[in-house]
């Protein structure tokens, strides 16, 4: 299974303050361990929300909102995608990460194809097939 691990933002990450050299090297070591164990598929840090945009949807209206955004606890500062056998394995890995200071890091399992019912998949598939036929038709014309 795959999980996505969300690292929350804090006032420092939002202010663009880089972590200490010590923390960076500890984090690099942790990432290296994840890669060497064949667990890490992807992982990135995110820039402060001062560089972010939001799009609000309301009926036909689309409103663009510029960052920064206030609620720093709900903002994400970085993520990983891990390939693990179970959520427990992800938990055991996360426990080894060099976080501190009461920060709460969240593990969310990613949907797998088998999480969807067979019928829904078949339906989605026939939809997709129709779409493909339409695309092919447009390409020919």
């Amino acid at each position: 299974m795959r999980v996505m691990v969300f690292v929350p933002a804090d006032s420092n990450s939002e202010a663009g303050v880089m972590p200490t050299q010590d923390l960076i090297s500890k984090m690099m070591k942790f990432n290296e361990d994840l890669v060497k164990a064949g667990v890490m598929l992807d992982g990135q840090g995110l820039t402060p929300t001062s560089r972010a945009k939001r799009v609000r949807f309301s009926g036909n209206q689309r409103t663009v909102i510029d960052g920064p955004f206030a609620e720093s606890k709900e903002l994400v500062a970085g993520y990983w995608i891990w390939q693990v056998k179970s959520v427990e394995e992800a938990v055991e890995w996360l426990k080894r990460a060099p976080f501190d200071g009461g920060v709460e890091v969240t593990i969310r399992p990613i949907f797998e194809p088998e999480d969807f019912g067979r019928e829904l998949t078949a339906e989605l598939r026939s939809k997709q097939e129709q779409l493909q036929v339409e695309i092919d038709r447009q390409k020919r014309s």
Partner: protein
Amino acid sequence: MSAGATQEAVAAVWRIESARLIGALLRLVRSVELAEDLAQEALIVALERWPATGIPDNPGAWLMTTAKNRALDQLRQRKMQQRKHEELGQHPASVSQEPAPDTGLEEDVGDDLLRLIFIACHPVLSREARAALTLKMLGGLTTEEIARAFLVPEPTMAQRIVRAKRSLGEARVPFELPPGAQLQSRLASVLEVIYLIFNEGYAATTGESWTRPQLCQEALRLGRILAGLMSGEAEVHGLLALMELNASRLPARTGALGEPILLLDQDRTRWDQLLLHRGLAALERAERLRQPLGSYTLQAAIAACHARARVASQTDWHRIVALYDALVELTLSPIVELNRAVAVSMAFGPGAGLELLASLAEEPALKSYHLLPSVRGDLLFKLGRYAEATVEFERAAAMTQNSRERTLLQTRAQESRRCHSSARRHISIVR
């Protein structure tokens, strides 16, 4: 924490730590059988104690210490026996050769793992035994899980693993990494085992379908670990690229009813983009090393041609033919030549492919290979030679062992026959 939850957490710790643990113990006791036993004993102690004490802050170190203490106990006992033997004037050779224990358990984790992989994949063992032992010692899988994955009864698999460990001991397989000259051939054995595990999951169309993708995942994990340990070996990255690229197509390989969907008919929007890009990146790493291209790297390069084509019609068949040329030269395999003929037919037309098949007809290795008449039927069909195509599809259908495939081939035979009769009608009208 409930007992069940602790058990799951212990299993997770085991998954993460077992290979390193066994690898370090192997350095200490120099016997696969003993190292694995000691690690299992430490696991049992953990399962007994952790539900009450909770999981220690550093569970890996805890398991190491527990197993190491047991190892030292055993060594001490053996030393005591040796002393007794000496007092009696006996000098059993096996005991006196015992090396001094290496106590630096935390160091050289990479080397420990590599040694473990190379021993588990040692050529004295059968391919099946190598695969089972690798999953057990490096994947941290239970015997039950491995048995289920390979669709054999658990006692059979347990026997296979026990026998494999014993064979390693009896053959006195040195636990050091093979020296430079042997390293390449031994590495080939390691890569073969990982790819065998992958294909066991990938090619499966029978059995409990959910256990099979797990084998692909395990092989990918091993491939990723090996790529980290031997980053200077192009073929290691080549194999990883091949597996990542093939695995990226898993979601599109079967239809709603579980029927196989061929590569060119797959809905490419369903390919896993993360794996696809990881595969392309791994291939790039292999090619950047500027070593002679090995068979895995070449196969990955072919898979990459498909991965890069957003629709099947954009496939760069000329490049695929060139890659198959190199692969034929390297492997001299008639099956690869058959694949090359298909690529040639896609690049230069069915007639060109058919010409190549003629030279393969006498190949003994393909005598009972259903894909030869199947491919020939397909090319004849494309050339409008429906009567000949019907014969070939029927022949292929009679040769295959797989019922799904037989149905597919019979359908194609019927289709050819229909086309043949309607073509004849058409000709008579024209006349």
